[in-house]
């Protein structure tokens, strides 16, 4: 592999885009560099479920052709992007990490794919995930777990561990994720990358295979805050195919990053997410970041959201309830797997056998839990009550945002745990999402960006900012500003400290790299 390629894959999307626009490199070169990188490291990382090198090269070549013809292209045209396998693509299989959809090529594109393609980004593959986005570790993928590039023995987070690991291991500068209870932000936290869950309705859900319709949101995954903002500007905006899509005119998120300043910003620290159950090294880095923000003019205050105590409980009723209904369509009739029971059987038997074989343990667990929460005689106590807790959580946020501009917490209680450490205890696994779930219940936007490595294990720690609904730009402002302060203090990016996955090929220059 040419030395040139190693430099290319380390570039941020913004830096790569500049070289593409200036003609210094071609989209085919950018694509090849990332495909080569995938070939070199993905056997170990397993971020991708599917790549289509020829297809990606053809897409890139078409971009180069248009650029040569003098067409004015979107600034990100030619930049490769990895796509979480929860998003339907009409030219690559889409499985949502499940056996039940193995090999399925949808006859249509998700709206975010249409937007990506219109902007000229180059999809380079589909990334691994917990089956139907149910998990915090990718260990529930039907196709085997993804490994954390910082320590291959550890989880990359979930459900979007594939997208986070892909950007963390320089297989792609950008990726799409989906966040139902933290599936973008928690993987960002454990992989030292950036992930954003937009305001509910800010990005179209059309073509995102639903886990929980009232909680799901597609969002950007990247190594820098600016890159997420650039991607957000591409995928955001109203879509008439998604009834819950907001019709708002959105400001440029990229501009918000560039202008980002914390001077005079009032930041509320969520008391309920700052202490018990959080790893010491996580809290240490978190507090350092707060100090840095304060030193740069932000006002840090404590804020209490008492209903958060009930948020996980509400989430683990609403999410499985909606999921149990959303996953009913996987029945072996129109698409996907069909399993005929021994000796044949009626269509009811075939459906039940298919779902028994096609769904993994976690999917079954949540379907049964959700079916229970909705069933006659239990609805009011469980689903109905959870919807009321949702109101209380929203009220808590509204009260908090009356006094502060943004809220802040560590993104997750611990750094990346070892693969297999929590698989036997569903409830322990569910607690990973304690800091991220409230934003999904309330529909508000959240960002996670790296703030350093935990002292005890040398693994990445993320900080989460939350803003009121529709104020995504505020997150990009504070995120961009904090990222600049941290990198100035460190003298390097955090991701540059990640171990070298392919030492034979790596000796990249650091200039312009992240």
């Amino acid at each position: 592999m040419a030395r040139h390629d190693h430099e290319l894959v380390r570039l941020s999307a913004a830096a790569l885009a500049e070289k593409l626009s200036s003609g210094e490199i071609s989209a085919v070169e950018a694509t090849d560099a990332h495909l080569d990188r995938i070939a070199a490291v993905d056997e170990e990382v397993h971020a991708f479920l599917h790549t289509a090198p020829e297809l990606s090269r053809r897409t890139a070549a078409a971009i180069d052709e248009r650029r040569r013809a003098g067409e004015v292209l979107h600034p990100l045209a030619g930049v490769p992007i990895a796509v979480k396998d929860v998003i339907v693509t009409n030219d690559m299989p889409t499985t949502s990490g499940s056996k039940i959809l193995e090999g399925w090529v949808p006859p249509y594109d998700a709206t975010v794919m249409t937007k990506l393609r219109a902007a000229g980004l180059v999809p380079i593959g589909k990334t691994n995930m917990d089956e139907f986005a149910m998990g915090s570790s990718t260990e529930h993928s039907a196709y085997g777990p993804t490994h954390n590039p910082w320590d291959l023995e550890r989880i990359p987070g979930g459900s979007g561990g594939g997208s986070a690991a892909a950007v963390a291991s320089f297989e792609a500068p950008l990726a799409l994720g989906s966040d139902t209870g933290g599936s973008i932000r928690q993987p960002a936290h454990v992989t030292g990358t950036v992930g954003v869950k937009p305001t509910y309705g800010g990005v179209s859900r059309y073509g995102a295979i639903a886990l929980a319709s009232s909680l799901d949101q597609i969002g950007p995954v990247s190594r820098t805050v600016l890159d997420s903002a650039l991607l957000h500007d591409v995928i955001g905006g109203h879509d008439p195919r998604d009834s819950t899509s907001l019709t708002d005119e959105w400001p440029s998120m990229a501009d918000a990053v560039r202008r980002g300043d914390v001077k005079g910003l009032k930041i509320g620290v969520i008391k309920e997410l700052d202490g018990d159950g959080f790893q010491a090294g996580v809290l240490e880095r978190f507090r350092e970041a707060l100090d840095l923000l304060a030193a740069n003019g932000a006002e840090i205050v404590d804020v209490s959201l008492p209903s958060l105590e009930y948020a996980i409980a509400a989430y683990y009723l609403i999410m499985p309830a909606e999921a149990s209904s959303n996953l009913a369509k996987f029945d072996s009739v129109r698409f996907g797997l069909r399993v005929n029971p021994p000796g044949g059987g009626t269509v009811e038997d075939v459906m039940a056998a298919t779902r028994e074989v096609g769904f993994g343990a976690e999917a079954k667990r949540r379907i049964i839990l959700g079916t229970y929460a909705l069933s006659a005689g239990y609805y009011d106590a469980y689903y109905g009550s959870a919807q009321k807790v949702r109101t209380l959580v929203q009220r808590d946020f509204a009260a908090a945002f009356a006094g502060v501009d943004v809220l802040v917490s560590p993104t997750a209680p611990t750094t990346a745990f070892k693969l297999g450490a929590n698989t036997g205890d569903p409830m322990a696994m569910y607690l990973n999402d304690i800091a991220t779930i409230p934003a999904n219940l309330a529909g508000i936007p959240g960002i996670s960006l790296p703030v350093g490595l935990a002292r005890e294990d040398g693994l990445p720690v993320g900080i989460q900012f939350l803003a009121p609904a529709r104020e995504d730009a505020r997150l990009y402002g504070v995120g961009g500003a904090l990222e600049r302060m941290l990198e100035q203090k460190w003298g390097h990016t955090l991701i540059s400290q990640a171990p070298d996955l392919a030492p034979g090929e790596m000796n990249a220059a650091q200039e312009g790299a992240v």
Partner: protein
């Protein structure tokens, strides 16, 4: 299956009070489906009018058809309902191969319309008020074809084929409250109620309302309550059955009558009624047991998270209310007067379920008396012979065209009956059938005069009688001429000419 024992209807009514309830599904005639922009059209090649939404493909999302909401509000208002200030869609979860998502998007605890009533006219002209509990919006399912086995029915089939063209077609389900007091009129009331709903949706222009095509479907609930002696408290309600698949007005009446007689016999024999769905069989005029209601019917309704509340403005509701057509009862009074029908004539039309057809035929240009004559006469006769609904045989426009041909003298009644058969057999419009079959009456006087002169010459005695002023004697000559013309002559014109020629001779 052994035929069920039936109690005599009058005897059943002596012992029991029938208690009714109806669920009528109306398919709306919007241009697109309820939640997708697929054309609202089925029939045709299977699986052609579908989008990812109708197929329930992973990732697809529903979006509400605004026109369907307006149609539903209009229907709610026409049923005398209140329109909910806010209503919601809900998912009804159950697995069935014709249900693409394995949940139906419907409305549950917050329907768009509730609390109305419909005045229904019984065959003898008495009015009966049917209370309406609610009307709600939902989507239709796909269509299953059962293959193998003897009957084409679900039992014994080897496999089934699914066509999702109908999946997502907009429906309004109209649910009555419990209907008491129908007594011996129960079968007629059932039929008159469904006919009234049909009249309402046709007048609103929101549905094709063709029962034979499933645009309008009725599920009939019935239970029997034992009568108690005067002064005693009423007996509790009996167990009900729900008869499905009742696809014509005639069947609605027959099915209710059958269920009353069947249930009465079981109860009188000391048996119990099973709460179950029953399937109506048009061919045998019986019902058979379907699925028993059980705790498996846990539909786990919950608010559809992919859709938002429907909150119609007061302005919209008033706008739609102002545009409502005349209520059916008032409309019937007006039509009866405009058409100059006697009470009996009008009731005949109405009881035969032909009001819509006659109205449309008159609107298409036919005189009311002629429209009634054809629909109640020849068309109904053929329909009866073929066990079909008159409306399914021929369109009002064709009947009006037929009447116009008669009035212009181009057809006589005998020829017109032949033309009608041609139209019913799919040979085209009346004019096309006339042309193709060469059925027009001979209007060339020259040809008629030649035939008349020949006939008069052959029957000099008749000619003499006519000349003597015995005009009725002309019948023999007219008959001979009509025979010579193979019936393709206007008998009235022939008579005129016969008298003319006889006088001139």
């Amino acid at each position: 299956m052994a035929a069920a024992k039936l109690m005599d209807f009058d005897k059943a009514l002596e012992l029991f009070e029938p208690v009714l309830g109806f669920e009528v599904h109306v398919e709306l005639s919007t241009k697109t489906k309820m939640f997708s922009d697929a054309p609202n059209f089925f029939g045709g090649e299977p699986n052609t009018n579908i989008t990812p939404v109708d197929l329930g493909l992973p990732g697809s999302l529903p979006v509400v058809n605004g026109e369907a909401v307006r149609y539903s509000i209009s229907l709610g208002l026409a049923l005398g309902c209140s329109i909910a200030p806010s209503s919601r869609f809900a998912r009804k979860n159950y697995f069935y191969p014709d249900l693409a998502k394995n949940y139906q998007i419907s409305q549950f605890d917050e329907p768009i319309a509730f609390g109305g009533s419909v005045d229904v006219e019984l065959p003898d002209g008495r009015m009966f008020t049917v209370p309406i509990e609610r009307a709600h919006m939902e989507e239709d399912a796909g269509k299953l074809t059962h293959v193998g086995g003897a009957t084409g029915r679900i039992q014994g089939a080897e496999y089934s084929l699914v066509d999702y063209n109908r999946a997502g077609v907009p429906l309004v389900e109209i649910v009555t409250d419990i209907i008491y007091g129908a007594e011996a009129d129960a079968p007629e009331l059932a039929k008159a109620y469904v006919a009234t709903i049909r009249d309402i949706v046709v007048a609103l222009g929101i549905s094709e309302a063709r029962m034979e095509r499933g645009n309008l479907r009725c599920d009939a609930n019935i239970s029997l309550r034992p009568r108690t002696a005067p002064g005693e408290p009423p007996a509790p309600l009996g167990t009900r059955t729900e008869t499905k698949n009742v696809n014509s007005l005639r069947s609605v009446e027959r099915a209710i009558r059958y269920e009353i007689q069947r249930q009465a016999q079981i109860l009188a024999d000391g048996g119990t009624i099973t709460q179950e769905t029953r399937h109506w069989h048009e061919d045998t005029g019986t019902t058979s047991a379907g699925r028993p209601k059980s705790d498996a019917d846990d539909y786990r309704y919950f608010p559809e998270p992919d859709l938002l509340p429907v909150v119609p403005s007061a302005e919209l509701i008033e706008e739609l209310r102002a545009a409502l057509p005349e209520p059916p009862a008032a409309r019937r009074r007006r039509l009866k007067q405009e058409w100059g029908f006697t009470d009996l004539e009008f009731q005949d039309v109405q009881n035969a379920g032909l009001l819509v057809e006659v109205t449309s035929t008159v609107e298409a240009g036919a005189p009311p008396a002629a429209a009634r004559k054809w629909w109640s006469g020849e068309i109904s006769r053929i329909a009866n012979a073929r066990s079909a609904e008159p409306a399914s045989l021929v369109s009002p426009a064709d009947v009006a065209a037929l009447v116009t041909l008669i009035d212009s003298g181009a057809l006589n009644d005998r020829l017109a009956r032949q033309v009608l058969e041609g139209v019913i057999d799919g040979e085209g419009t009346p004019q096309e059938v006339v042309d193709a079959r060469g059925l027009a009456v001979v209007s060339d006087d020259g040809a008629l005069i030649a035939a008349i002169d020949e006939a008069l010459a052959a029957q000099p005695d008749v000619l003499a009688k006519i000349k003597d002023g015995k005009v009725q004697a002309a019948g023999a000559v007219i008959g001979a001429v009509m025979k010579a013309m193979r019936g393709q002559a206007d008998a009235a014109r022939v008579r005129e000419l016969v008298l003319e020629r006889a006088a001139a001779d």
